[in-house]
């Protein structure tokens, strides 16, 4: 062990911001603790019992004091609330464009990681510096939590839905991945490493892997395998909505609502197509795929649908 620190490695811009907030909280917390300890000590010593007959006069309270020590802490806490909320929304709302999307599937007890280029890894995540990386998290069984202390980020990986968060790595190195939500026998072995590399070395690393097909190409195969292609003929509006240029766009539903076509929406529309019907189309045309497609194939399928909307920049290699 090298030098001892109360901070884990700080490898992203967001981590520095969280640490700054933590520093503020520590300052306030230690300050308050010292204040209370000081008064307890001073009162305990100064007003210690001098004779068993002591009968000190009663003091029943002071409204101004009560108001002061309610309102002042509350105002300080408002700062904590505002600052913490801002950072929280920031870390959990990925930028809408130009992110490096990586797909993570948790299962007892490993992390399966897929890159858009088709590379796959187990318990190892490689990311470049200087680029917004967006993780899409899925689980095959129980709830896990994908935790990277160096980025000060985690999110539960909830089966049946996608969760996302994002970060921009700044410092090359190898950092821990932990599963932070108890998931059974080998919970504490459901760990891995995230390797942050500079962009040039990252490109070299990407090309080093033996990948035959990209995620989108794999997804296209799934698309054919499940017979999606028979109805969803590309570039053709028929009984079913076209899939081109859907991803990332708002979609009008038949109940008047508008939703954003993100990963969660596509997922729901595949597994449970009647949940949200696009305006102008009929329900009950598409079969239900709940329980039919594995999480990894589903992710590939979604990347394929994504690739139908993204102009070139999404497909690396």
């Amino acid at each position: 062990m090298g030098s001892f620190s109360i901070f884990p490695p700080r490898a992203s811009a967001g981590a520095a911001e969280v640490d700054a907030l933590y520093g503020f909280l520590l300052f306030v917390g230690i300050g308050m603790t010292l204040l209370i300890f000081f008064f307890v000590f001073v009162f305990a010593i100064k007003y210690r019992r001098k004779s068993p007959e002591d009968r000190p006069k009663a003091i029943h309270g002071s409204i101004p004091l009560e108001i002061a020590w309610s309102v002042i802490p509350f105002l300080i806490m408002l700062v904590m609330f505002g600052w913490g909320t801002k950072l929280y929304f920031q870390n959990y709302s990925p930028p809408t464009r130009d992110t490096l999307d990586i797909y993570i599937t948790g299962k007892q007890w490993m992390w399966k990681i897929q890159y858009p280029g088709g590379q796959r890894e187990i318990n190892e995540l490689h990311v470049p510096t200087g680029r917004a990386v967006k993780l899409t998290l899925a689980s095959e069984d129980v709830i896990h939590s994908f935790y990277i202390p160096a980025f000060r980020l985690k999110h539960d990986v909830v089966p049946g839905s996608y969760q996302t968060y994002w970060f921009e790595p700044t410092k090359p190195g190898r950092y821990h991945i932990f599963c932070a939500e108890y998931c059974g026998t080998n919970h504490s072995r459901m760990i891995g490493w995230v390797t942050v590399m500079d962009p040039v070395r990252y490109q070299t690393w990407l090309s080093g892997g033996n990948t035959s097909e990209s995620m989108a190409e794999l997804g296209e195969r799934v698309f054919e395998q499940y017979g999606c292609v028979t109805c969803h003929v590309l570039d053709q509006q028929g009984r079913v909505p076209s899939l081109r240029n859907v991803f990332g766009k708002p979609v009008q539903l038949d109940n008047g609502q508008t939703v954003l076509a993100d990963e969660s929406y596509i997922r729901e529309s595949i597994l449970n197509p009647n949940a949200k019907i696009v305006k102008g189309y009929h329900r009950d045309i598409m079969p239900v795929f709940q329980g039919q497609i594995g999480e990894e194939s589903l992710l590939q399928l979604i990347v394929y649908i994504k690739s139908l909307s993204a102009p070139a920049n999404e497909v690396s290699k």
Partner: protein, 544 residues
């Protein structure tokens, strides 16, 4: 205790302990004081069972690679949590000290429903036996939170038996709370206005509100979970269309308010101790009393802060975060008022007051680290790490157990009619304080460094802090054994206590004999002065 007061030989008087003999007189008693003792002994037993699991856990964590098999460790922390939360912390102060003291404090002869009181103890024992049976038959490994779908589908341990034990024990808690509420409403003696209630009673009133209103939701949640485990119909299983986050909502609707079930009675005890050992009326009585109720009510509105990273809506998280800060205000009010109570007082350093000092210090740290967890961006990093473990042990063990021990020492003469050895007691209080901090302070650092909770093995860099923590735990363990020994000794052989060894205010000391007779009072009690009238003022000014 430095008391050399001449004491009347109360031992020959009839009191609740010698009014009747034989095991039947205990197991079929309806006397709230005897039921309190039944609870005291059973809770102590569970405390040491839960403590034994904690010791085993700390031993395992001496080495980064662990010592026990992973499954064993998973069962250890689950059973530690289940036993400590549901069978020690929730009933601890209310069912023992509360049960014993609320009637004499408000001038009543018993609780409103004595038979229901006894029933609640039997229910508690049935629940406890079910949980222990689950342990003996191989244990349970879901964590005390029983999160679905792991608990409902994937775990192959005795989930149903353990969960039903919790379900059953919940009804014991409900009945205790119900009894307190009705007793406090209807059984106060002449002159015992709400504005004169001891803060101990106010704290228990707030606790009882939570017990009555939150526990049924836990019961139904566990019921749905067990049914799901039998039927596999999918109500919490996403593969079948269910939503696991719903389980967390329902679970925390009880379990967050439940942490206030665990801390409010501790605060209630501390208010009594600080007033008595400072010989002062509590500073800001109205604020302290009202803050208990405010904590109880606001405590119901914050459960979502356990779900900041669980897939809850970010907007809902924002609301829950805000209210979580709000609930910190009444807690802070209490700490400030206790501190201010000592101002210009006459502070003595008897053992109960040492525990009160410990409580104020450790609860301050526990409460302030709660703000870290209410701050969403920090919570994302430290939730489900040792930071959370340290935080709630500072509140539950540093707060509640300190208050419990302080209360046990304070009312030991009342309960047993005898005095405990003061030197040993002070020594034990010191050992517990040191051991506690050494155990749990390193865990704050571990948490921010990123060590997740419920890990049987851990990364090499966390080794040093874990060893420190285990060292502290061994000191803490010894610290808890010392009071066991000298209190058991003093129960039989301690010097006879006068009626009011602390010169404390309150009906239970001033108008009820020590130890009390079966119906608490010889003459019907009357409250003739405000609470905590330590200055002996004839006419009291309007309270703040």
């Amino acid at each position: 205790m430095s008391t050399t007061l001449p004491h009347p030989e109360l031992g020959v008087q009839t009191n609740y302990l010698n009014a009747d003999y034989g095991w039947k007189s205990w197991l079929f008693t309806t006397d709230h004081k005897r039921i309190a003792l039944l609870y005291l002994f059973s809770i102590t037993a569970f405390f040491f069972v839960g403590g034994a699991f904690a010791v085993a856990m700390r031993v395992n964590l001496l080495s980064p690679n662990g010592i026990f098999a992973h499954d064993t460790y998973n069962k250890l922390f689950t059973m530690h949590g289940v036993i400590m939360v549901f069978f020690f912390l929730v009933p601890s102060i209310p069912a023992t000290l509360g049960n014993f003291l609320i009637p004499p404090m408000i001038g009543a002869r018993d609780l409103a429903f004595p038979r229901i009181n006894l029933l609640s103890w039997y229910i508690y024992i049935v629940g406890g036996v079910m949980a222990l049976t689950a342990i003996v038959r191989g244990g349970v490994d879901t964590g005390w939170t029983f999160y679905a779908p792991f608990s409902s589908t994937y775990s192959n341990t005795h989930v149903i038996l353990a969960a039903m034990g919790v379900f059953v024990a919940g009804f014991s808690s409900i009945l205790t709370g119900l009894n307190f509420i009705i007793t406090i409403h209807t059984m106060r003696c002449p002159g015992m206005y709400w504005s004169r209630l001891p803060l101990f009673v106010w704290g228990h009133y707030a606790t009882a509100l939570i017990q009555v209103l939150a526990t049924p939701v836990l019961a139904i949640t566990i019921f749905l979970l067990c049914l799901e485990r039998v039927l596999q119909a999918g109500i919490f299983d996403p593969n079948l269309g269910g939503d696991p986050v719903l389980f967390q909502h329902l679970f925390w609707f009880y379990s967050h308010p439940a942490v206030y079930i665990m801390i409010l009675p501790g605060m209630a005890v501390i208010s009594e101790l600080v007033a008595c050992f400072s010989r002062k009326a509590i500073f800001g009585y109205g604020f302290v009393a009202f803050s208990s109720v405010a904590i109880a009510v606001l405590g119901f509105l914050v459960w979502g802060h356990h779900l900041f990273v669980a897939g809850q809506s970010m907007y809902a998280s924002m609301v829950f975060s805000f209210i979580s800060f709000l609930v910190a205000v009444p807690s802070a009010i209490k700490v400030f008022n206790w501190t201010a109570t000592m101002y210009q007082g006459s502070v003595s350093y008897d053992t109960p007051m040492l525990y009160a000092f410990g409580f104020i210090g450790l609860f301050t740290i526990g409460g302030l680290t709660g703000l870290f967890l209410a701050t969403m961006a920090i919570d994302v990093h430290v939730t489900d790490t040792y930071f959370v473990i340290a935080h709630f042990h500072y509140v539950m063990v540093g707060g509640m157990v300190m208050a419990y021990l302080g209360g046990i020492h304070f009312w030991f003469p009342k309960i047993t009619g005898r005095l405990y050895p003061e030197v040993w007691a002070k020594f034990a209080a010191l050992v517990i304080f040191v051991g506690f901090n050494l155990t749990f302070f390193p865990q704050f650092i571990l948490g921010y460094l990123g060590m997740p909770r419920r890990y049987a093995t851990y990364a090499e860099e966390f080794h040093l802090l874990n060893v420190m923590s285990t060292a502290g735990a061994s000191i803490l363990g010894i610290g808890y054994l010392i009071p066991m020994i000298y209190l058991a000794w003093a129960w039989r052989h301690g010097p006879i206590s006068p009626q009011n060894p602390w010169h404390a205010k309150g009906l239970e000391w001033e108008q009820s004999p020590t130890p009390p007779p079966t119906f608490n009072f010889i003459e019907p009690p009357v409250m003739t002065e405000p609470a905590y009238n330590y200055s002996g003022a004839e006419e009291e000014v309007e309270l703040g």
